[in-house]
Symmetry: C2
Subunit: 216 residues, 2 copies
């Protein structure tokens, strides 16, 4: 049965990778059924939230049986688009770019790293895990000729928009941006940001709030 997933809210979508991660762990431990209560204990989401989330995409839960772990894992993977492969390039071969290229779990999930790009002549021509660091001047052509789906931007804030423009001209479909910049891209290009300072500042908020609570 083909379901229409287009109405699932982004809030639910952002919880799916977490469910998937736990389900993967269960499969690795040879556990094939799980109740929403057990999933609640693992994930920290309430059981009712979990049932509501998972009801969005089909009747995997059965009263008195729980969820079929494998079926749910597969279905979530499909919803997230992880049942196909993506061609990716990393722009910026500094520490962050190297951390990402060395994170082989992304490859296992179907994100194939085809090349890295940098402006630093000392880096150009080097290989990391068989992945060549190419001259940033070749980015647009490479992306177009190799039908690259996703460009991962690990440059400085100043370079990020220039790189995004090159990726867009090379017909990129999505950009995963780590630079602390809000990029302008056309509507047909999907943009996902990892703004690290936003996460760190949330932590400092939590620390501040907690110390204020203690003072009360």
């Amino acid at each position: 049965m083909e379901r229409d997933h287009s109405k699932i809210s982004m809030a639910v979508i952002r919880r799916l990778p977490k469910y998937r991660r736990y389900l993967e762990e269960l499969l690795n431990n040879d556990i094939h059924r799980i109740s929403s209560n057990e999933l609640s204990k693992m994930t920290g989401f309430t059981a009712s939230q979990i049932r509501q989330d998972l009801n969005n995409f089909g009747g995997f839960g059965q009263q008195g049986y729980g969820y079929n772990v494998e079926a749910l894992y597969e279905e979530i993977g499909k919803i997230l688009g992880l049942d196909r492969e993506y061609e990716t390039v990393i722009v910026g071969a500094g520490n962050l770019g190297q951390a990402i290229v060395n994170y082989t779990n992304f490859e296992k999930s179907g994100f194939k790293m085809r090349a890295m790009f940098d402006v630093n002549p000392k880096l150009i021509g080097l290989k990391i895990r068989d992945i060549e660091i190419k001259d940033a001047d070749e980015l647009e052509t490479f992306v177009r000729e190799n039908n690259i789906d996703i460009g991962i931007i690990c440059t400085t804030k100043e370079q990020a928009q220039i790189v995004a423009d090159q990726l867009v001209r090379g017909n990129i479909r999505g950009i995963w941006n780590f630079a602390p910049a809000d990029l302008q891209v056309p509507d047909h290009v999907m943009l996902e940001n990892v703004h690290l300072s936003e996460s760190l500042f949330t932590l400092s908020y939590l620390l501040k709030s907690q110390s204020e609570d203690e003072e009360r």
Copy 2:
């Protein structure tokens, strides 16, 4: 006037760093007033959302005048706890740990990096930006003796909980976790995760949804 910010929702809190980033840019460009409509154009949030968010913490907006950029920037910084300094350590001196220690903007925002820790004997004793890489065995003692506020975990998934336990025993106040693991920490320890695969999988969802739209 001291305001009680404890009732601001986490959804609003997570938008504040973005507002702050734009306000900082405005200040750098010598712009001292801004309307919610202009802020809307910059941030992509609706003007009504912005007014609602900023109303949470005081009457900075004045009809026909707009927001005082500097006052708003300062107030958001206070709410986020950025008007003080935090002592931090980074655990895991691989590419990701090095990327973070080299990201000097965090230091400028008050997050002082005091040491890095690793288990790799080849790395122990080296310095990055004058910050020493120490033996991971010394972590708990260092954290306790130096009143470290925040531990930044850049280890593998397998090491992450062990490191978290050491940080907790050293009386850490907050953990910024980059390992793809859900850590168990006591309630008094604040935990903020950067789960990169959750972000990447959201992007693949967006790409998949878009290609399905095109097929319709």
